[in-house]
Symmetry: C2
Subunit: 287 residues, 2 copies
């Protein structure tokens, strides 16, 4: 584990919430990620399932670990949880901090192809290759490589969906809170995809969950989507879960859309239902 | 409710986490406080117990409502939760923002008697009179004035203890995470008490839980103290729970000290055991 530096470690619900930093070869910068080791990891001789959690716009690895209360459920189920940051950090590309919805903390979990972003903004390869493999290697004593799931929120919900749909079999379970479901149809998505990929819209569909599910040809999957009914970004048609549901139904991919009356886009929504998501993942990962 | 302005309202665990602002007559400034209304408050015709939560140094009303996950337990038990801020805000006394452990966000829940603090820094009267009465008046449809408890963390744990011990019967139940238990014996406490009360140590003992419990003559009380074993401030002898326990035993006041192996001073400790504290308060408040 030479390549990892321990940033912090706090006991919670009998396990340990840790944050590590490491030098990312994909992103060419130093990155933080969080790792929750549930009490069942103690001793280090039992292989446990893993869930990756991808955060939303403006977040770092901190928001989920301090605000969601997920550790209670991860401890109950004996699941390791990994939370990457949301973009490269400290690479200082002109304009990278001018918008809250593009550049720093807004990597959209795609691999940029357009200069100047293409050198560093490779969040898809970072999460699904580099970090995915790093976790298995560095924590090989407790990680079961056959039982890995993914979830996320908002931009990170989009990330969880496209990571699963583009890499059949990599993640056995997937769920999302208030995900951007059809980015090519919303303002955030079109801004990000134009910035990272250029104007050719035929490239955008490779990173759009609603488009990807229509061509999905991997192992059976059930998508769980959790959406607050008064979420302003949902009402503003940034998220468009109905488009994803319609696409899923057109191709026979099972999808569950939970529309939660009165909940908004915040972590208060996530905290209220993260337990249900852990139940959903555990049922699949521990089957 | 003319005097209250709603700052925010977010649905969580079926209830609503709200933040209000109001003009405080005790503190002579505008103050925020949080209020969680559990699902049982809907309809507004059932009287529910209330717990006040006092936060620690550097905190505002936000830390507890975003990081502790208490709402799950408040919703389970049907308890309203009120969280004041930790000091007057925006009153601009010279030196009020020079220290993290004195002045802004460090009111210590005492009534200052020394200039220039005595005009605004009246947190004891603010919490135990002004806010205590305001909550009963503004939410009279759902608040049961006979079932009010108090808890807190660190400086706020000290606040919960002295608020209870100085005002017999005002709070029916009390608990604290990593409280400052004997402030006249620790660096934070002696700095604050010197600053707010002056050099006369005979005044300090009126605001010290360990000293107060020796003279307690109110209704029966059980103190619950929750302390992480590797909490740096505990190890540095800022908190001194053993002194409080010894004083309690000397006068026959029941006290429970839970020393939690491996937990630190953070909200990760609080999140892990806040459920047990709600169980403790509920048993008393709902008896």
């Amino acid at each position: 584990m030479d390549q990892l530096s321990l940033v912090s470690s706090n006991k919670i619900f009998g396990g340990y919430q840790k944050v590590y930093s490491h030098q990312s070869s994909e992103l060419k910068c130093k990155m933080n990620f969080s790792l929750y080791l549930p009490p069942q990891a103690e001793g280090g001789d039992v292989k446990l399932p893993v869930i990756f959690y991808l955060s939303g716009l403006t977040c770092s690895e901190q928001n989920f670990i301090t605000k969601s209360g997920f550790q209670r459920y991860a401890a109950d189920h004996g699941i390791i949880v990994v939370g990457p940051d949301t973009s490269p950090r400290g690479v200082k590309i002109p304009g990278d901090d001018e918008s809250w919805d593009f550049g720093v903390a807004a990597g959209f979990y795609v691999d940029a192809t357009k200069e100047p972003w293409s050198t560093n903004y490779r969040m898809a390869s970072y999460v699904n290759k580099e970090l995915y493999e790093l976790i298995q290697q560095a924590f090989s004593n407790v990680v079961d490589p056959e039982r890995i799931g993914i979830m996320g929120h908002s931009m990170g919900g989009h990330g969880a969906l496209i990571s699963t749909l583009r890499n059949p079999g990599l993640y056995k379970s997937v769920s999302a809170f208030a995900p951007i479901c059809n980015p090519i149809q919303g303002p955030w998505g079109t801004k990000a995809l134009t910035g990272y990929l250029g104007d050719d819209k035929s490239k955008w569909v490779e990173w759009d969950a609603t488009e990807l599910v229509k061509k999905y040809d991997g192992p059976p999957l059930t998508l769980l989507i959790d959406q607050g009914s008064i979420d302003q970004f949902y009402l503003d048609k940034q998220l468009l879960p109905e488009n994803l549901v319609e696409a899923c139904r057109s191709v026979g991919v099972p999808v569950i859309l939970k529309l939660r009356e009165g909940y908004d886009h915040s972590y208060y929504h996530i905290a209220s239902y993260i337990g249900e998501h852990f139940d959903f993942h555990a049922k699949i990962l521990k089957a």
